[in-house]
Every structure is written in C-alpha cells, then in structure tokens.
C-alpha cells in the first residue's frame, strides 16, 4: 500500500497544480505516503490533520460521520478527505477550486483501495504420490503407409 500511496500522490500532484503538499495516513495515524521529503514533517502534517478532523467531528457529533473537511484561511486552504481505510490531507494556496481539489483527493483515495479479490485460477493439488509417478508416455502410433486415393 505504501508504494500505491506514493504513486497515487505523485499522480495527484501531477494532475492538480493547486495542491502544495499532501499526506495519506491510515486509521491509526500511520503515514503511508507523503509529498513531503522529510518523514518528520509528514508525520506532523498527518497528526495535525487528524486533530483537525477530530475537532470538526466534535463540533457536529450528532450528525452522520464526517467524510470531508475544507478549512479556508487567508494564507491557504486545508482539505481532509477520509474513507473507511485511509485519510488524505492536502494544502493549497488561497482561492483553490474546492470541487476540483475534493474530486482529485477522492480519486487518489479511491486508487489506494485494494482491488476486489477475484476467483483464483484453480490449481492442481500435488500429492507426494502424484509427484513420484512419472508421466505416462503416450502410446506410440503405428505408422501406416498412406494410401493415395487414386492408387490402384
């Protein structure tokens, strides 16, 4: 998932020029991907974003679960989007296109989800007895001379 998160963030920053920094972290707060070079700064950003989300939840605790937060200040905006598995937090400059940033963040979060486990191809059970046996040779075909249809 770490590699996936880094790739998702690389794609995100490539697509959205508005995003300055972004971090992905799991439900325990562990950073799984970040655009920041220093891990300590990524950890700090994840921790602050989790605190922001917790504070926002406290404000309207009675409502249904909080999924997205955008806090716009004069210096810039902070976006946080979360789903069942992970949370993504990003910062932008002021006057960011809110809908577009949320869309890009949700797309990045969706790309982290593990693909649904499909049916595995059936594999043959190999037993010790089966391993020991040598494959049977196909019976040798008798060579019969071909008759030409117009032969007498």
């Amino acid at each position: 998932m770490i590699v996936d998160a880094q790739k998702a963030l690389a794609d995100l920053t490539e697509i959205s020029s508005q995003i300055q920094a972004a971090v992905v972290f799991d439900s325990k707060g562990k950073v799984v991907g970040s655009t920041l070079a220093e891990p300590s700064r990524a950890d700090a950003l994840a921790k602050s974003a989790a605190e922001l989300l917790a504070t926002a939840e406290q404000i309207e605790a009675a409502r249904s679960p909080l999924t997205q937060v955008e806090v716009a200040t004069a210096e810039g905006s902070v976006f946080v989007v979360r789903d069942e598995q992970a949370t993504i937090a990003a910062t932008t400059g002021s006057n960011a296109t809110v809908g577009l940033v949320f869309y890009d963040l949700k797309s990045a979060l969706r790309s982290l989800k593990p693909k649904p486990a499909g049916r595995k191809p059936a594999t043959r059970k190999t037993t010790a007895a089966a391993k020991k046996t040598t494959p049977k040779k196909a019976p040798a075909r008798k060579r019969t001379p071909r008759k030409k249809p117009d032969a007498p």
Binding site: Q20, S48, L52, E60, L66, E75
Partner: protein, 68 residues
C-alpha cells in the same frame, strides 16, 4: 494649496478604504466547510464558535507545510 492638500487627503483616504475593503474580504473568506456521509454540509464562517477552533489548526498546518 488647498486643492493639493485635498487631493492628497483624498488619495490617502481612498488607499485606506481600499486596504480595509481587501482586508475585510480576505477575513470574510475564512471559513470551514464540513461534509457528512449523508450528503449534508455545514459551513462555519469566521467568528462562529466552530470556526474559531478549526481556523487556528488550519493555519498551523499551513505554517508547517510552508516552512522552509
């Protein structure tokens, strides 16, 4: 003489009014939008009790990120 003084006062007054307008707009734009799973949204503008808790945290995050 009086004209020039009046003109200078007018320019200074205009600059102050413009600066105040820009500052007010910038402050007014500060807000926190909360989106819930059921599709509802709550917008907290600057000055409301909820926004007063969220805006300082957001400023702190931005400071962390923008720090060299």
């Amino acid at each position: 003489m009086r004209r020039s003084v009046a003109a200078i006062l007018g320019i200074v007054g205009g600059l102050l009014a413009g600066a105040a307008f820009i500052r007010r707009r910038a402050v007014k734009r500060e807000r926190a939008d909360l989106y819930f799973a059921d599709g509802s949204m709550l917008s907290l503008t600057n000055g409301s009790p909820g926004a007063d808790r969220l805006l300082p945290k957001a400023r702190e995050i931005l400071r962390q990120v923008q720090a060299p």
